[in-house]
């Protein structure tokens, strides 16, 4: 009886010791997982990038970047813009790189807010119909890097002042004033205005993204009114440029307060009568459009004089 009890006890303690031993063997795995998770949270950053979408528009999207220094971020973005570049796997579905295969950024220089990019000659192998879009993609992506407002483009040390195939001229120093996805709706020479409007579209996975379009039009209205008029006008589905702003939405008034802008709409800014919410796509389309046309840092939305 005593012998049987002792054997049972020995068995119990052996199992217990075995479990303790196993715990002692693998404690590092737990802490490793935790550390990895923490590190991952700290290091993930997203950065704007302007890639070509399925309809041929240069579109605003973003990618994860691992770099933190400005120079490294520039290198990573240029590599991502390059077809078959090092970071192709970062490109979201529905978008494509646009710089020709094997294009290399030979060197770069940052002087205050001016970035000079010196590319290899492969950049000139761009197809004629894409030449301007390549420049748009570079300008918009690079000026989304903090502190960069102007771009100079060189090819093997020589400033690029003319696109070789289309013959289009380039200023020595470029900025967003160059335009993007340009559309010309001019029928007379009076009151020609240039306005940037951000439309939206969806990827096949139903993710919304934004498409800036520089429109040349005849109008004697202020740019803010033109933006709202354009975003409320009937959308042509053929153009693949969408706006979620209700057709009946009206901008009642607006005012600038230093670098802030107050916009006061009627109730049609809301998604529906019952739901007093404004669609995220509406807020982004209006805000991006205004930020690219005016020097404002904050936009406040009101509906019938009540802040939302």
């Amino acid at each position: 009886m005593i012998k049987r009890f002792s054997i049972k006890q020995i068995g119990k303690y052996t199992i217990l010791l075995l479990v303790v031993f196993l715990f002692c063997l693998f404690p590092e795995k737990e802490s490793y997982t935790l550390d990895k998770k923490v590190n991952k949270e700290i290091s993930i950053n997203y950065h704007d990038i302007f890639l070509i979408d399925k309809n041929g528009y240069i579109s605003k999207t973003n990618i994860q970047i691992s770099k933190k220094k400005k120079g490294d971020i520039i290198d990573e973005l240029i590599e991502t813009l390059t077809i078959n570049g090092k970071y192709q796997d970062k490109i979201p579905n529905g978008f494509n790189a646009i710089l020709p295969v094997d294009t290399k950024l030979l060197d770069k220089q940052i002087d205050d807010n001016i970035l000079t990019l010196n590319f290899s000659k492969e950049l000139l192998e761009t197809k004629k119909e894409l030449e301007e879009k390549v420049i748009e993609s570079i300008i918009y992506t690079m000026t989304s890097v903090e502190g960069i407002d102007y771009i100079k483009i060189k090819i093997e040390g020589n400033l690029l002042t003319k696109l070789p195939k289309s013959g289009k001229l380039l200023d020595e120093t470029l900025d967003r004033n160059f335009g993007i996805n340009k559309m010309y709706n001019i029928d007379k020479i009076k009151n020609v205005k240039k306005v940037i409007i951000y439309y939206s579209n969806k990827t096949n996975e139903d993710n919304t993204y934004y498409i800036p379009v520089t429109k040349y039009i005849n109008s004697d209205e202020d740019k803010i009114k033109i933006i709202i008029d354009e975003l409320t006008s009937k959308i042509s589905y053929e153009s693949n440029l969408m706006s979620y702003l209700n057709y009946n939405a009206k901008l009642l008034d607006y005012s600038f307060n230093e670098d802030e802008l107050d916009l006061n709409f009627n109730e049609y800014l809301f998604d529906s009568e019952d739901n007093k919410k404004v669609l995220e796509e509406v807020i982004y389309s209006i805000s991006y459009s205004i930020m690219d046309n005016y020097e404002v840092s904050k936009i406040n939305f009101y509906v019938n004089n009540e802040e939302i």
């Binding site: 002042t161 003319k162 020479i189 020609v192």
Partner: protein, 68 residues
Amino acid sequence: MSKGILTKREREVFELLIKNNSTKDIADKLNISEKTVRNHISNVMQKLGVKGRSGAVVELLRLNEISL
């Protein structure tokens, strides 16, 4: 700006034309006659192969020969 298809004078005329200046305004600002202004505009339209002034403006904007 590097040299494109416009002469310096033609570019000056169109830069003013796009900013709502009349032929007379342009002539006064550049110290040339109205007829010379019209000749410059006409020459540019011929170079571009377009008929109206607005067509010329669109084409020059497309080519980045002038900007707003």
